[in-house]
């Protein structure tokens, strides 16, 4: 395919040393222009889908939030209850992400590296929080840790309760992102490190974790994003005391019920910013860990 092109352009392209690189440089943009019909259609469908589902609604929220000008933001953040809700949501979500990083990685490790009776069952159970409607998840937690708890633990209406519910619904993220990477990790790489004198702890720190870092942060980002926006399970657990146990998503609901769309959009916008910021930060951290070794 490339031979005729080369033959056609070579005579005109000057000294012998030069032609290779500039020619490739010239050909690349041409390749982008010349999308095959199938690729063009695919790209079109993807863009349309993405626009309708994500981009346009997102823009609408941002526009609504900014419509009222800077004032709306100041007003919303000035409300102590809203501020408390945002702060609560963000700190809980961060905490959940951190716990998930540790526990999720350990669970993934156990699932991949160890053999024990009931491993298959655990494999399936991990996904239960994904499969359950979140309101059912709330109900499940309520029946064990609610007012009629058979073990006498009642977390309803407490911050610990919110944390527990968030941990429950975000459990699978890190496990499911780390697991496939861990399976793909070659045993001989660890053996090589061992025969070079590395202790198991060193192998974990310098060989295994850097390889897992992108997967761990991807899982943590997902868990964080899910936690910051969680609604269903918290409706039953959180208790929704303004300024105490009311999370941002429930705050937004309250604004909408009170016909305060601009305020709702402003809170949504702040959540969006925080999410983007945290995900970007995690990405930077992951790259750094992956490179350090």
């Amino acid at each position: 395919m490339s031979t005729p092109t080369l033959a056609a352009t070579a005579p005109g392209s000057g000294p012998a040393g030069g032609p290779g690189a500039p020619q490739r440089g010239r050909r690349r943009p041409r390749g982008v222009e010349a999308l095959t019909p199938a690729a063009g259609l695919g790209l079109g469908v993807a863009m349309l889908w993405f626009s309708l589902l994500v981009l346009l609604p997102l823009t609408a929220v941002v526009v609504t939030a900014l419509e009222g000008g800077w004032g709306t933001f100041v007003d919303v953040v000035a409300e102590p209850d809203t501020r408390a809700a945002l702060l609560l949501t963000i700190t809980e979500a961060l905490g959940v992400a951190v716990v998930n990083v540790v526990v999720g990685t350990v669970i993934a490790w156990v699932l991949v590296r160890d053999d024990f009776p009931g491993k298959r069952v655990l494999e399936v159970v991990i996904d239960v929080p994904f499969a359950l409607p979140t309101i059912v998840a709330g109900l499940v937690l309520l029946s064990l840790y609610g007012p009629r708890s058979p073990i006498g633990v009642n977390v309803v209406g407490t911050r610990e309760g919110i944390f527990l519910a968030l941990l429950f619904v975000t459990l699978p993220f890190v496990v499911r992102t780390v697991q496939p990477v861990l399976i793909e990790l070659d045993a001989d790489v660890e053996e090589a490190a061992a025969s070079l004198g590395a202790s198991p702890a060193t192998i974990l720190r310098r060989i295994v974790l850097p390889s897992l870092a992108p997967a761990i942060t991807a899982g943590a980002s997902l868990a964080f994003a899910r936690a910051i926006s969680e609604f269903g399970s918290l409706v039953l657990i959180a208790g929704n005391v303004p300024g105490e146990t009311e999370v941002a998503s429930l705050r937004i609901l309250k604004f909408i019920e009170g016909d305060r769309y601009a305020s709702a959009a402003a809170v949504a916008f702040i959540l969006l910013l925080v999410s983007a910021l945290v995900i970007a930060t995690l990405d930077v951290v992951s790259r750094r860990v992956a490179r350090r070794g």
Binding site: D186, D188, V189, E191, A192, A193, A194, S195, L196, G197, A198, S199, T202, R206, I207, P210, S211, A290, R291, G293
Partner: protein, 343 residues
């Protein structure tokens, strides 16, 4: 003796990977563990490195009983078939790994890494990631990494197995030269008899978890202890109930001087060589066909072509091994396999 292996056995369920193996590997030499896949040679290497635990037996490295030592404390360098590169580290970092965890001074590490990268001709690739190297370069990096900690013995598990034929051959020659420079006791596993014959000072032939023969390449080629060794090192063919090398068969175009009469049924030219497939008189099918290799010039001078009647006899002084069970299945398969590859 650098490595002393005594009474090593290893079972995987019912499968006997190694059955009571004794072996001494001499200091400063390049030894090949040669045998077919699944014969136990890699298992033996991994047991020496401590990556696998033997069911019974002891391993001694440089006079130290290493049977119960973890791989970290055996002082062996190990090179894997698939490189086992630390993918997230640069080439220089890979090589430095063993030194860094030994907490050597930075300056010393840098000097040593530089020296090793020069040794394996990768000095201009120091800052690349392994993914940016070719297979041959990655394996050279793995070798430098293993040599960095100055191991007592260097173990290579099918080091060139994942590379293409040309790179394989280059690396093989290069390993030989490297060993002549570095002189570290080296053991490498291979299933390629040509590789073993070309590179090794000493060859250990392993099959079915047993050692068939130990010796220099010449010994093994000229004085094979049994059918298996003869069949595995170099080609063999069956002539009159004996195993003989195809190039050790003399071809006459008249029956005056005796020999086994037959007819040429196929003639293949491979480079300077001609392979004749001769069917002995009275043989019904290809089961008893004899393979003979000649130079092209000689074949032409005899005027050999398909259908020519010939008389075959082993060359004077050629190594001939009587076939115990006629004809041994494995050996037959070998010769046929070689033919199949050429057609």
């Amino acid at each position: 003796m650098s490595i002393e292996v005594r009474g090593i056995s290893k079972h995987y369920g019912d499968f006997v990977a190694l059955g009571d193996v004794d072996l001494s590997i001499p200091t400063g030499r390049l030894t090949a563990l040669l045998g077919p896949s699944g014969g136990g040679k890699s298992t033996l290497l991994r047991i020496i490195a401590g990556l696998e635990v033997a069911d019974t037996g002891t391993v001694e490295i440089e006079g130290v009983d290493a049977t119960r030592l973890p791989p970290q404390r055996r002082d062996v360098g190990f090179v894997f078939q698939h490189y086992a590169a630390f993918k997230h580290m640069t080439v220089a970092k890979n090589v430095a790994f063993g030194l860094e965890i030994r907490k050597r001074p930075k300056k010393e590490v840098r000097a040593k890494v530089q020296e090793l990268l020069e040794l394996v001709h990768l000095e201009q690739f120091a800052d690349r990631l392994p993914a940016q190297l070719s297979g041959g370069q990655r394996q050279r990096m793995a070798l430098a990494r293993a040599l960095a900690v100055e191991p007592k013995v260097l173990l290579l598990d099918e080091p060139f197995g994942a590379l293409d034929a040309k790179v394989r051959k280059e690396l093989r020659d290069w390993l030989r030269r490297l060993h002549d420079e570095v002189h570290v006791t080296t053991v490498f596993v291979t299933h390629d008899q040509e590789e073993a014959l070309e590179v090794a000072d000493e060859i250990v032939v392993i099959n079915h978890g047993r050692i068939e023969q130990v010796g220099s390449p010449e010994d093994l080629y000229d004085e094979p202890a049994n059918e298996f060794v003869m069949g595995f090192l170099g080609e063999v063919t069956t002539l009159d109930g004996h195993l003989v090398r195809p190039h050790d068969v003399q071809v006459h175009t008249s029956g005056e001087r005796g020999g086994v009469p037959g007819t040429v049924v196929r003639a293949l030219r491979i480079g300077f060589e001609v392979r004749l497939i001769v069917r002995p008189e009275g043989a019904a099918d290809e089961g008893s066909d004899v393979v003979v290799t000649l130079t092209r010039t000689f074949a032409r001078s005899l005027g050999l072509e398909v259908g020519t009647p010939v008389w075959l006899e082993p060359e004077q002084g050629a190594r001939v091994v009587p076939v115990r069970r006629a004809p041994a299945a494995a050996l037959d398969g070998d010769v046929l396999g070689a033919e199949g590859a050429l057609v």
